[in-house]
C-alpha cells in the first residue's frame, strides 16, 4: 500500500534524493546497503527489453525510470498497481524540468533543498497530493521567493 520510499540515484549509484515514508526494514545502519541493493537491481536491468517494474523484497516492488543519467525509483507494496506510479515519476520529473528549466543532475545536486521542496508539494504520506503541473509550479515558485 502506498509509496514506501522515493529514491533518486545517478548512474554511478550515488544518492541524490532520498525520502523514506517508512523506515527501511532492519537496522538503520543497513540503509546504505539497502540503497546499494536497489541500485544494483535497477542498474542491471536492460531498459530496452525489460519492464519498469521489478520485485525487490517479499514486501516491496520497485517502479523506476531512468531519465538521462538519473534513476527515479519508487518503492511500493506488492499489491499496488504499478502503472500509476510511473505517472507519479513522470509528473515529478516534468515539474523539476519546468522549475529548473531543462533539469540536469547538477541542478538537483546544487539545489537539493529545492528538489525536496518540490517533492513535499507532490507527495506526502506516501500518496500523491497534487496532480496539476501548473498548480504545483505556481506554489513552488511562490515558496521559492519567500525569505
Amino acid at each position: 500500500m502506498a509509496i514506501k520510499f522515493v529514491i533518486c540515484l545517478n548512474k554511478q549509484g550515488v544518492l541524490r534524493l532520498i525520502r523514506l515514508f517508512e523506515p527501511f526494514p532492519g537496522d538503520v545502519s543497513n540503509n546504505q546497503s539497502t540503497i546499494a541493493q536497489i541500485y544494483k537491481l535497477v542498474s542491471s536491468r536492460e531498459h530496452k527489453h525489460q519492464s519498469n517494474f521489478v520485485e525487490f523484497s517479499d514486501s516491496t516492488k520497485l517502479v523506476y525510470k531512468r531519465y538521462a543519467g538519473l534513476y527515479f525509483v519508487l518503492g511500493i507494496g506488492l499489491q499496488d498497481e504499478e502503472l500509476i506510479y510511473l505517472s507519479h515519476i513522470h509528473l515529478f520529473v516534468e515539474v523539476l524540468d519546468a522549475f529548473f528549466g531543462n533539469v540536469c543532475e547538477l541542478d538537483i545536486v546544487f539545489n537539493f533543498h529545492k528538489a525536496y521542496m518540490i517533492l513535499d508539494e507532490l507527495i506526502i504520506g506516501g500518496e500523491i497530493q497534487e496532480t496539476s503541473k501548473d498548480v504545483l509550479l505556481e506554489r513552488i515558485s511562490h515558496l521559492d521567493r519567500l525569505n
Binding site: 527501511f24 540503509n31 537539493f112 525536496y116 513535499d120 496532480t131
Partner: protein
C-alpha cells in the same frame, strides 16, 4: 525559473558542493567533509562555547539565522552525498536544527524541517530531539501563517510513520485543520495526508473510541461532498481508502453510490462533453485523471466483494441499479479509452492505467458474457504492443481476469487467443513477460488443451536461449503438475514426463519431478512397462540428463523384468556401469542399489557386481564407500549361508499413500488446491482458481449485523414505523431539517416483494449536503429472513424546499419478528452542522398480505370463515394458533377494524357476533410459499383479544399477531 539567487542560494553551501564535486579522489572528498565538519562543529560551539576560531565568534548563540541555515543545509548535504552513511556524524547539529526550526523566516524554517524530515526515520534522532520537535510542531500547527502550518503538515506527512508519539501528541491538532471549514484548501489537502500518515502509525486512536470514530469518519467523508473538487479529492481519497481497508469498511459502504458517481463523471462525462476545459483537474493530458480513477476503483474494490463472496461483504446484488449501471458504463468506456491508438508513450501509459484498473475491478460487477469478451479482446490486443510495460501488465490483468471471472473469461481466451499466447512465448525476450505468459498458460490449461500447452512450454525450454534458472525450473514444475493433473492418455503422460526430465538444459537440481513420476509409476501398474521401454531408449544417449538416469535407476531397478524381453539384465548392467562415472554421487548411490536389484534377478551377474563394489570401496565419498561395503557383505553372507538375503532386503516397492503432490508446495502464490495423487490415470478435474483476486475488505463473519442494533434509534421513529405497517403511503419521519414521506406498493404477482419509495424533503432554510443513506438488515447471511435491494439512492444534495427519492425493495424470504426489521441510517449536513437519523423500516410478514378480494374473488362469508376455522383447528390443533390479549388503546371496534382492513386483511361482513371482527388473508414468503390466515379480534371492556390461525402453524400465527398488535396499540 530558479529565481531567487541571493538569499536562498547559500553561497557557502554552493561552494562546498562544488569543492566536493571537484575532488577527484575519494580521500580528498573525505578530507573536505572532515574539515567542513570541524568548521561546523566550531560554529555550533559544540562542547566549547568560548573558543574563537578563524576570527569567528565560536558561540552558537551569536550565529544569525542565515548562518545557521547554511550550516544545517551543509549537514543535510553531507548526509545525502555519503549515501546516508554519516548519520552519526551529523547528530551533533540536531540542537541547532531545532533552534532553526523555531525561526520565523520561512526559508530558515524550511531548511530545518527538510533536514529533520531526512533524519527522522532514525530512532536515535526522535529520541534526542523528539520532544522539542513536537513542541515546535504544535506551535506551527496553531500558527496564523499558512506556510508554517503547511511545513508542519508536510513534516508529519513524511515522518508520521517513524514515531508513535507524533500520533498521540498531534493527531487532534491535525484533525482540527482538516475539519475546519475555514482552512485553506492547500492545508486541507496536506492535513488529510498528514492525518493518514499518523493513522497508519497507530489506528487505535480511532478504533478504541467508537464515538470519535463515527464523528471523525463522517467528517472525513464529508470532504468528498463537492464531487467536482477533484483537487481536494486527490488528497482525501487515500485517507478514505485506508479507513475502508483498515479501520471501518462497513462505515464506508454508503459511499459506494457517491464514489461511483464521481468515477462516472470522470470517465464518461468529462470527456468530449465540451466541459473538458471547465474542470481541468479531472483530466490529465485530456484523459480522465488516472490518479482519481485508480484511487476510486481501489476503494470500490475494497468495499465490494466478489460475486461469490461469503464474507458478509456487500456484492453487486446489494448495489442499486443506477449505480451498477454507471459502474458498468465506466468499464465499457475504459475499454474504449484503453484501445484508442496513440503515439505518445505517456498517453499510452495513462490509457492503460485506466483500462487495467477497471478491468481488474469489472469481475465484481457480475459482467455479462459480452463484457468479458470485450475485456479479453481489449487485453489481447495490447499483447502485441511493442512496449514491454504494456505487454507485462496486459498479461497480469488477463491472469487476474481468468482466475477471478473464472470459466467465462478462460473459455474466451482459449477459444480465440491461444496461438497468440504461444507466439509471444516463443519470441518474447523479457523474462518478466515470459514468466507472466507461463502463469497465464498454467491458469488456462484444462483437459482439452493440455497437450498443446505442455508441448509449447517444452518447446520453449528446448529452443529458448533464455537461461534464467529460476524460470526454467518454474516451468518444469508447472509442466509436471499440468501433465499429471490433466493427462487423459497414459502413454502421453509418460512420454511427456520423460521428455521433460531429459531436457538436460533444464538443469533443475530439484528432485521432486522425477520422484513424483516414480511414485506415479509405482502406483500404476499399466505404466511400468511403458516407462521401462522409454527409459531404455533415453539412457544410451550420451549426455542424457541426470534426472533421467535417476528415474531410470529407480524404475529399471524395480521393474527390469517387464523390460527383459527386449534387453538382458546384463545389458542393463552395462548401461548403468557406463553412466556411473559421469553422474553425481547421489546418482551413483542410486545406481549401486540398482545393481543390487539386477543381481537379485540374475545371479549370474555376481562377479561383475562384486568387482564394481570392490572398486567403490576406495571411494572418497563416505556414502558410496559404506554402501558398497554393505552390499558386498550381503553378497558374501548369501554365499556363506545360502539364504537369498536380497529377496528380503529388496522387496518390490509398495504403493505410495501420500495424497498431496509435493510439487505444489513449490508453486508459491499460484495456489491451486491440493491435487489428489493420481492413483489411477486419467484424472480430469476442473482447474481451481489460481492467483488471488484483488484485495477485499476482511469482514469477520457474525451471526447478525452488529450495526443493526448497536445504537439507539432517533426519537419518534415508532410512529412512522407503525404507519408504514398499516398504510400504503404517508409521513415516515419529520425532523427540523428533513421530512420523509413513504409509499409502498406490492409488485403484481409477486406479493413477497414490496417496493418502498421514500421521499426526502428539505424543510430547513439551508441546503442539505452529503446526504448518505444506508440500510442495515438484521442479518445478511445464514439464511436471512429478508433481502433488501436498493433500486436508486437519493441524491447527495437537496436544495431548500426540494425533494429526492430513495427506492428499494424488500423481499420476504421467510417470516421474521418485527424486532428484526432493518435500520435506515441517514447522515447529512445542513448549514455546517452534521446530523444523522436512525429509523426502523418494518419488514413484517403482513407486508406480503393479499386478501381474496384483490384476486377478484368475493369476500369470505361468516359461514365459510367458521368452517375453515374449524377445519384448521382439526388439522393443526392448538399448534397452529396464536392468541394474545392486550389493553387496546384504540377506543372503538371500528378503529381496529379499519386498521386491520388497511393492513390488507379481508374483513368478514357480519352482524351476528357482537364486538368481534373476523378477518382473513394470505401471506406469502419466497421460501415457504403461501399461508392462509384467519383471525378473530374481540374488543371487550378496553381489552383487545386476538386469535390467529394459519395453515403453516404457530410461528406464522405469532408473527401476524405481532404485526397486528404493533399496528393497533
Amino acid at each position: 525559473m530558479v529565481g531567487n539567487t541571493n538569499y536562498n542560494s547559500m553561497k557557502g553551501l554552493q561552494l562546498f558542493i562544488a569543492d566536493l564535486r571537484g575532488s577527484l579522489h575519494a580521500e580528498d572528498r573525505e578530507k573536505r567533509i572532515q574539515s567542513e565538519m570541524v568548521n561546523i562543529r566550531k560554529q555550533f560551539g559544540a562542547g566549547n562555547s568560548t573558543d574563537s576560531v578563524n576570527g569567528y565568534p565560536g558561540t552558537a548563540s551569536t550565529l544569525n539565522g542565515y548562518q545557521r541555515k547554511k550550516y544545517v543545509a551543509k549537514l543535510a548535504y553531507i548526509f545525502i552525498a555519503t549515501n546516508t552513511t554519516r548519520i552519526s556524524d551529523v547528530m551533533f547539529g540536531l540542537d541547532q536544527c531545532c533552534e532553526l526550526m523555531a525561526s520565523n523566516v520561512y526559508s530558515e524554517k524550511y531548511i530545518a524541517y527538510m533536514t529533520l524530515e531526512l533524519l527522522y526515520s532514525n530512532p536515535s534522532v526522535c529520541q534526542q530531539v523528539g520532544d522539542r520537535v513536537i513542541a515546535q510542531l504544535k506551535k506551527d500547527l496553531a500558527s496564523m501563517t499558512e506556510n508554517h502550518v503547511a511545513l508542519a503538515l508536510n513534516f508529519l506527512g513524511v515522518t508520521g510513520k517513524c514515531d508513535p508519539n507524533l500520533t498521540h501528541e498531534l493527531i487532534h491538532e491535525v484533525f482540527q485543520v482538516l475539519r475546519s471549514p475555514t482552512s485553506a484548501q492547500i492545508l486541507q489537502k496536506k492535513s488529510s495526508l498528514a492525518f493518514l500518515a499518523l493513522l497508519r502509525n497507530d489506528s487505535t486512536i480511532l478504533t478504541q473510541d467508537a464515538r470519535r470514530k463515527q464523528l471523525w469518519i463522517q467528517r472525513i467523508m464529508g470532504l468528498l461532498d463537492d464531487s467536482t473538487n477533484y483537487r481536494l479529492m486527490v488528497s482525501v481519497l487515500p485517507l478514505v481508502e485506508y479507513i475502508a481497508r483498515e479501520v471501518d469498511g462497513a462505515a464506508c459502504v454508503k459511499l459506494v453510490p457517491q464514489l461511483s458517481e464521481i468515477l462516472h463523471n470522470c470517465i464518461v462525462h468529462e470527456r468530449g462533453s465540451g466541459r473538458a476545459g471547465g474542470l481541468p483537474d479531472s483530466t490529465y493530458k485530456n484523459i480522465p485523471s488516472p490518479w482519481i480513477v485508480t484511487k476510486i476503483v481501489s476503494i470500490l474494490n475494497i468495499l465490494i466483494g466478489s460475486p461469490s463472496s461469503s464474507n458478509g461483504e456487500i456484492t453487486f446484488t446489494n448495489i442499486d441499479q443506477g449505480t451498477l449501471r454507471k459502474l458498468r458504463m465506466c468499464v465499457t468506456r475504459a475499454i474504449d479509452i484503453g484501445t484508442q491508438p496513440t503515439a505518445d508513450m505517456l498517453t499510452r501509459t495513462i490509457q492503460n492505467t485506466i483500462l487495467f484498473s477497471l478491468i481488474n475491478f469489472a469481475s465484481k460487477l457480475d459482467p455479462s458474457a459480452d463484457a468479458i469478451r470485450n475485456s479479453v479482446n481489449a487485453l489481447t490486443s495490447l499483447l502485441s504492443s511493442n512496449e514491454i510495460n504494456t505487454r507485462y501488465l496486459a498479461l497480469d490483468c488477463l491472469i487476474k481476469l481468468c482466475s477471478v471471472s473464472g470459466k467465462g473469461a478462460q473459455d474466451e481466451v482459449r477459444s480465440g487467443h491461444m496461438d497468440q499466447l504461444f507466439h509471444i512465448l516463443l519470441v518474447e525476450r523479457d523474462t518478466s513477460v515470459v514468466r507472466k505468459i507461463v502463469d497465464l498458460l498454467y491458469t488456462l490449461t484444462d483437459a482439452g488443451n493440455v497437450e498443446s500447452n505442455v508441448n509449447t512450454l517444452l518447446k520453449y525450454m528446448t529452443d529458448s536461449k533464455q537461461n534464467d534458472y529460476q524460470l526454467r525450473s518454474d516451468i518444469a514444475v508447472k509442466v509436471a503438475i499440468l501433465t499429471e493433473k490433466f493427462a487423459t492418455d497414459t502413454t502421453w503422460y509418460v512420454i511427456v514426463s520423460l521428455r521433460l526430465l531429459s531436457l538436460s538444459n533444464a538443469s533443475f537440481n530439484n528432485n521432486e519431478i522425477w520422484q513424483r513420476l516414480c511414485q506415479i509409476i509405482v502406483n500404476n501398474e499399466s505404466l511400468q512397462k511403458l516407462s521401462c521401454d522409454h527409459l531404455l531408449q533415453y539412457l544410451p544417449q550420451p549426455n542424457i540428463s541426470e534426472a533421467i538416469v535417476k528415474a531410470g535407476a529407480f524404475v529399471l531397478g524395480e521393474y527390469a523384468e517387464v523390460a527383459s524381453s527386449k534387453i538382458s539384465y546384463g545389458e542393463i548392467f552395462n548401461m548403468f556401469a557406463d553412466k556411473y562415472f559421469s553422474v553425481s554421487n547421489l546418482c551413483r548411490a542410486m545406481i549401486l542399489t540398482t545393481l543390487m536389484k539386477l543381481y537379485r534377478r540374475d545371479p549370474s551377474l555376481v562377479s561383475a557386481v562384486i568387482k564394481f563394489f570392490q572398486l567403490e570401496l576406495n571411494s572418497l565419498d563416505l556414502e558410496l564407500q559404506t554402501r558398497s561395503y554393505e552390499y558386498l557383505k550381503i553378497i558374501q553372507l548369501e554365499k556363506i549361508s545360502g539364504v537369498k538375503l536380497v529377496d528380503i532386503l529388496f522387496e518390490p516397492m509398495v504403493p505410495f499413500s501420500r495424497k498431496k503432490n509435493p510439487l505444489l508446495s513449490r508453486l508459491e502464490g499460484a495456489s491451486l488446491s491440493a491435487f489428489d495423487l493420481t492413483d489411477s490415470l486419467p484424472s480430469v478435474k476442473g482447474i481451481s482458481n489460481a492467483p488471488t483476486p484483488p484485495p477485499t475488505r476482511k469482514v469477520k463473519p457474525t451471526a447478525h449485523n452488529s450495526a443493526n442494533n448497536s445504537q439507539p434509534l432517533s426519537p419518534g421513529w415508532r410512529d412512522g414505523f407503525k404507519r408504514m405497517l398499516i398504510h400504503r403511503q404517508g409521513v415516515f419521519y419529520s425532523s427540523t431539517f428533513l421530512k420523509i414521506f413513504f409509499r409502498t406498493a406490492a409488485i403484481p404477482h409477486q406479493s413477497e416483494l414490496l417496493e418502498v419509495t421514500l421521499t426526502y424533503v428539505n424543510t430547513s432554510e439551508l441546503p442539505i449536503t452529503s446526504l448518505l443513506t444506508e440500510i442495515v438488515p438484521y442479518k445478511t447471511e445464514e439464511d436471512p429472513p429478508y433481502i433488501i435491494k436498493v433500486i436508486s439512492v437519493p441524491s447527495a444534495g437537496i436544495a431548500k424546499g426540494e425533494r429526492t427519492a430513495h427506492i428499494f425493495e424488500i423481499l420476504t424470504r421467510q417470516g421474521s419478528p418485527l424486532g428484526q426489521s432493518p435500520i435506515l441510517n441517514i447522515n447529512f449536513k445542513c448549514g455546517g452542522s452534521v446530523d444523522g437519523l436512525k429509523v426502523k423500516i418494518p419488514a413484517g410478514i403482513t407486508n406480503t398480505i393479499t386478501s381474496g378480494r384483490l384476486e377478484n374473488r368475493t369476500g369470505v362469508t361468516l359461514a365459510q370463515f367458521i368452517q375453515r376455522w374449524k377445519a384448521l383447528g382439526q388439522a393443526l390443533g392448538k399448534e397452529g394458533e396464536n392468541h394474545a390479549i392486550v389493553l387496546a388503546k384504540q377506543s372503538s371496534l371500528e378503529q381496529v377494524q379499519s386498521c386491520v382492513e388497511r393492513m390488507g386483511f379481508d374483513i368478514v361482513e357480519q352482524k351476528m357476533v357482537e364486538n368481534t371482527i373476523f378477518a382473513a388473508g394470505i401471506v406469502r414468503t419466497k421460501n415457504d410459499g403461501n399461508s392462509g390466515c384467519l383471525m378473530k379480534l374481540r374488543c371487550k371492556s378496553g381489552e383487545l383479544e386476538v386469535t390467529c390461525k394459519t395453515t403453516q402453524g404457530h410461528f406464522v400465527s405469532e408473527l401476524i399477531v405481532g404485526c397486528v398488535l404493533e399496528s393497533v396499540s
